[in-house]
Symmetry: D2
Subunit: 209 residues, 4 copies
């Protein structure tokens, strides 16, 4: 017998049933709160030369870890294994902007989803949650394109795409008035990590049958 | 014995428990199949002059309706009300390509999310499922841009974005060798409608508390 | 003997001819400097509610005017006439970011290139120089998309597209640490205006036969 | 003796000079036709695994060669040298679509513009003409994104961007009803090559001082 019951009635129900029976309860994730406690695995994959994107990646990890029962794997794109990819419920990919776009390393990582990991034609990444972050020297010179095209690669894999910390994900402007990564940018990256873990936790009980 | 329980059934359930006293509870919104039975409301909003985008919109509606317990509202973008928007669990927006982009009517519809419906700063559309479809005369002359920028507007609203029927959504090429909307294109539109309803149904029990 | 001739030198030249009577002329639109003196007309069309995009538009005008023999027309998108459009050698379009994209007013302006001005199927805008600018409240939340999709509309018209002041054009972030339009952003807008006038002047002698 | 003289003064000048001398006139490239005879060098750089993008590249070459005095260099992206890059007046870059975007090889090629060839901070590619082409299995699944992001990389380099054969460049759909590259797609690629050579020829006399 499988039931989906609203929280507020559960105590009454339990009390009533306990009075009369020998019930075994297996409460499954019903509320977002509870759902957030569903163990999920988040992969944060990034490329970084200067260390800026790495700092953002670490903040994404912190954000994801701020949710209970979240396992986070932080790896450079070149180090990601098939198991990292397929065992994750969510993937967050970060790149520096090189000539208005994600770096060649990050693009090659996506290409390897097929060439090394064979995600297609089964769409093995389908229904995993995806998100993006980016760093770039200047404002309006490629961070949006970088994030949107990372999301475009994920949508092509039939992933479920979310953003936080900015319209398309978290980003940092690393030159100009505020060089490197500042507090607001790290906070945005943490928001993104938390958001991704949260949505993955919501979806996991339903998707991981 | 599988039950989906709502408030009004709790007293009955309690009565049942009392009567039988040997119930095993396995509380879980368990399978995607079942989740797909969660009642959801999908809004399909479109602009169409020639009727091509309207035909695609109708196929999106069919796809969404192919899932049990899905209510679908089909409206031209100019007819959408605040209630249509806020009562929906998922929004699918379709546009013809005008000069490489969504039409002015569809863009104005998104602008009205704020100017008429005041979605910001509360992010009232947050966590609703979003998707896009497009029609255009030529191949590679704006359908991708139209779909991706519709998704970009949705991501800016913190919606959860999905695709089906194509990397970024369903689309149709309306001139050239196969004028109008052909069978494959309609099938893609149906896939998109079904996908959106499915993901919305997965998320609804968790999001609509 | 190489001469670069301006209006004021023509009488001297004539005198020279008269004196020497054995001159060989090799008429050529020789240097970029000189080309920049070809009279060109630049249309700057924008939408603005708060006045931010208008300030950027005015700076684009200043930049274009900094080149000799440049006529600049500054108009809100809704005020642009067929003659404004067709008599211009270059068009610079500016928009605020509304939901990650250009505003509905600006999109409708592009749609009217066809619906009101009938640019297609003759591609009447072909070979005009095009560029974009944008303002938006947040960093990385639509200014790139707004500029790139303006350029995409122009490319669809077979225009020749340039940028300056940023990878995709000039932009300003109007909220946060530096509210409104700051000096650097105005300088970027001026660079864009100058760049557009310069390229249009280079191309005009060749294109305007 | 090389002169650049405003149209309106030419008749007066001619009259005056003719009265007194034995002038030989050599009117330099004023018309597009003539401009097209200015010798230009076009680099066509591509990545191809299946051979589809290579076939398109060859058609781009044909199109460029259809203009007199055009030298075309066709190379895989990995084979391009600094001299190829800097001695060219125009660059056309082609890529297959891998996961909604240009391939990692092509992105790495752009990254190498800086890492190997050091184009920045002098913007050594400034004012070269740029264009893009793409091939992909499905309609609306990344060819537009691939072309637009190639153009975005070029705009970041302050190149002058054009299209032909489609709104954003030439493209081919290599699976489905018309597998491989068909005649219309090859014609589009030739249009693109010709367009690029033409615009480069127009600009060269002005830019190459």
């Amino acid at each position: 017998m499988i039931l989906s019951i609203r929280n507020q009635f559960v105590p009454i129900l339990i009390a009533l049933c306990l009075l009369t029976s020998q019930v075994t309860f297996d409460f499954a994730p019903v509320s977002a709160e509870e759902a957030a406690r569903t163990p999920v695995k988040v992969l944060v994959a990034y490329h970084s030369q200067s260390g800026n994107t790495e700092r953002m990646a670490e903040a994404v990890v912190e954000g994801a870890n701020s949710l209970p029962d979240t396992t986070v794997v932080l790896k450079r794109v070149g180090q990601v294994t098939a198991d990292d990819l397929f065992s994750s419920d969510a993937i967050v990919v970060g790149s520096p902007v090189y000539w208005s776009n994600m770096s060649g390393e990050v693009k090659t990582f996506f290409d390897n989803w097929q060439f090394k990991f064979g995600v297609f034609p089964e769409f093995k990444m389908k229904n995993k949650v995806g998100a993006a972050f980016a760093t770039g020297g200047q404002i309006s010179s490629g961070k949006e394109v970088t994030m949107l095209t990372i999301l475009a690669a994920m949508l092509g894999n039939q992933m479920i795409v979310v953003s936080a910390g900015g319209a398309f994900g978290a980003s940092a402007t690393t030159e100009g008035e505020s060089p490197g990564i500042d507090k607001k940018e790290l906070a945005d990256a943490r928001s993104l990590g938390r958001r991704v873990a949260e949505v993955a936790a919501w979806m996991k009980p339903l998707l991981s049958k």
